[in-house]
């Protein structure tokens, strides 16, 4: 491992941002916005680590003043242990005591391994900047979004896993100094036999808007109204637990306490009554709209906007109106 002309004396904040096919992922901008504010609070510098990204200039807009760039085709596919080791090398080289990570599935997979490499305390699902630096106290969600918790990290090196859409974007234009970094790569122990991505569809994790259907839709054959609304909004589709249990929709669409968490800007629930486990899973979404023909559905108590009406009547008309609105 050699670092050319990269000298940092001060402690730094290290932000690790993910990339896909040569570009940083969308969540990178939130991670950099947050990390840049954290660095200000700690009166230190921010170093942003990128793996196999061609153009990093977009990150500068959110305060990425120093970029540590690794280019190595062996890092094109994700391996938790290998990535944790690379990030640990970057943290040690840059003397970083605070490492900021996203809440993507890959990053949450890798974070505990990184925590062992750096003997660091790690907190996931963080939603704010630290409220105190000594002791280092930070707010996170717990009880599957039914509560928040102030937690301290008591170790010298700290890893912060930021919840998606919890902090937002903060523009902070800066010049970006880019340095190459060549970590040594450990051997992979886990083989990827195949990868299957649903193409042409937005994943629940990446979506700003999620349109979700429940038992009220009566059967899988009626999902076209959900899909058309989602397509109009550029949204991901999701479903409630009974719907995935009955096999109407794949498990990957099940959101709720034992399914996927949703932290979208807009969550539209159609024909979902709003069981406590479902609400827990979607609670981190900013705005919730519920469409249900039962005015007593518990979801109305958890929603921002509601329409009491028949989904088969309301949803197609809403889609049509949204199409006109978008045009």
């Amino acid at each position: 491992m050699k670092l050319k002309s990269y000298k940092i004396i001060k402690m730094s904040v290290l932000a690790y941002v993910e990339s896909f096919k040569g570009k940083v992922k969308k969540n990178a901008f939130e991670i950099v916005s947050y990390s840049s504010e954290l660095a200000k609070k700690l009166d230190t510098d921010l170093v942003t680590l990128v793996l196999n990204v061609n153009d990093t200039s977009e990150l500068n807009k959110y305060g990425a003043s120093k970029i540590l760039k690794v280019t190595n085709p062996n890092l094109d596919s994700f391996d938790a242990k290998l990535f944790a080791n690379v990030i640990a090398q970057a943290a040690k080289t840059t003397n970083s005591n605070h490492i900021v990570l996203s809440s993507s599935l890959n990053t949450k997979y890798m974070a505990p391994l990184l925590s062992i490499e750096l003997d660091a305390g790690y907190l996931s699902n963080v939603v704010e900047l630290p409220s105190s630096l000594s002791p280092f106290t930070i707010k996170r969600t717990s009880f599957t979004n039914k509560a928040f918790c102030d937690s301290t990290i008591d170790s010298e090196v700290k890893i912060i896993g930021l919840s998606s859409n919890a902090f937002g974007l903060l523009e902070n234009n800066t010049e970006g100094l880019v340095e190459d970094f060549n970590p040594s790569l450990i051997e992979k122990k886990i083989t990827i036999n195949s990868t299957e991505k649903v193409s042409g569809k937005i994943s629940i994790a990446d979506a700003d808007i999620v349109v979700s259907g429940g038992r009220g839709l009566k059967g899988p054959e009626n999902w076209n109204i959900i899909e058309e609304l989602a397509e109009t909004l550029g949204a991901a589709t999701a479903c409630s637990k009974p719907v995935s249990d009955m096999g109407w929709r794949p498990h990957s669409e099940h959101v709720g306490q034992t399914g996927k968490p949703v932290a979208a800007n807009l969550y539209i629930a159609i024909g979902i009554s709003g069981a406590i486990q479902h609400l827990a899973g979607i609670n981190s979404s900013k705005i919730k709209v519920v469409i249900n023909n039962d005015p007593e559905a518990p979801f109305f108590k958890a929603a921002d906007y509601g329409v009491v009406g028949d989904a088969f009547d309301v949803v197609p008309r809403l889609t049509k109106k949204l199409k006109a609105f978008k045009a």
């Binding site: 717990s142 886990i190 994943s203 807009l266 109305f300 329409v307």
Partner: protein, 248 residues
């Protein structure tokens, strides 16, 4: 094949969440405790390995004696032996270190944990154990097959899934998909009777280090009442979403 399933003892998914002692402690009054759902999917998959591939199943929990009914339930479902490390589970780092110490002196081929507990949601215990013991680790594991010394695993990824393979020993973070909801087992009378005779070992804590502390809890601020829009006036809904909520 020797399997260890890590069991977290958590409030039932329907529980109302409240706090006590100045919002510093979870209020367990009137709360029903269950096997953490992600752990139960793993335990049920372990039962398949026991029945089809002659595996033995130990279960382990870090907790005080109040977690024993949950451990007895795992024995009634079919685990062979339970181990309780007698300590409050301080944080994920503490729990992982305690369990890793136990594993060091009791070799296992496969360790199954849940991808996360539904109470503290740290999502770190299996990964930390893997890091401490330097063994293979896959989380968000939605399918698992073992053939001799090789595991084939389906892992959920953002927007899809991938199929992985690796050698044992292995630790996984399990979730739904390992088995279906309908495969979960309700202990029958025979299982419950047998569970009383099965060993439940209580061992002292190895006084591992913790790295974080939960110091204060909050419940979300009660939200404003829902704004109802007439189904005959969907333009108003679009207007509210665009101008008021600013999400379109």
């Amino acid at each position: 094949m020797k399997i260890l399933v890590c069991i977290s003892h958590v409030p039932d998914t329907t529980s109302k969440i409240n706090f006590t002692e100045g919002d510093t402690v979870f209020d367990s009054q009137g709360v029903q405790y269950v096997i953490n759902p992600n752990d139960e999917f793993g335990l049920t998959r372990a039962m398949w390995f026991k029945e089809k591939q002659n595996a033995t199943i130990d279960v382990i929990n870090v907790g005080k004696s109040n977690t024993e009914p949950t451990l007895r339930k795992t024995l009634a479902i079919g685990a062979d032996k339970a181990i309780r490390i007698d300590s409050e589970p301080i944080d994920g780092s503490f729990v992982a270190r305690e369990i890793a110490e136990y594993i060091k002196s009791n070799n296992y081929d496969l360790i199954i944990a849940g991808r996360e507990s539904i109470d503290y949601n740290g999502a770190m215990v299996p990964g930390l154990i893997a890091g401490l013991l330097q063994i293979n680790f896959v989380t968000n594991c939605s399918k698992l097959e073992i053939d001799n010394n090789t595991a084939t695993i389906e892992r959920e990824i953002d927007g899809g899934k991938e199929i992985l393979s690796c050698e044992l020993p292995l630790i996984i973070g399990g979730q739904k998909g390992l088995v279906e909801e309908s495969d979960l087992r309700i202990p029958n009378m025979r299982g419950i009777m047998q569970a009383r005779q099965k060993p439940l070992e209580v061992i002292p804590s190895s006084n591992s280090s913790s790295k974080t502390k939960s110091i204060k809890f909050y419940k979300p601020v009660p939200r404003e009442e829902v704004k109802l829009v007439s189904p005959d006036n969907l333009d108003q809904l679009i207007d509210l979403l665009y101008n008021e909520a600013k999400v379109l």
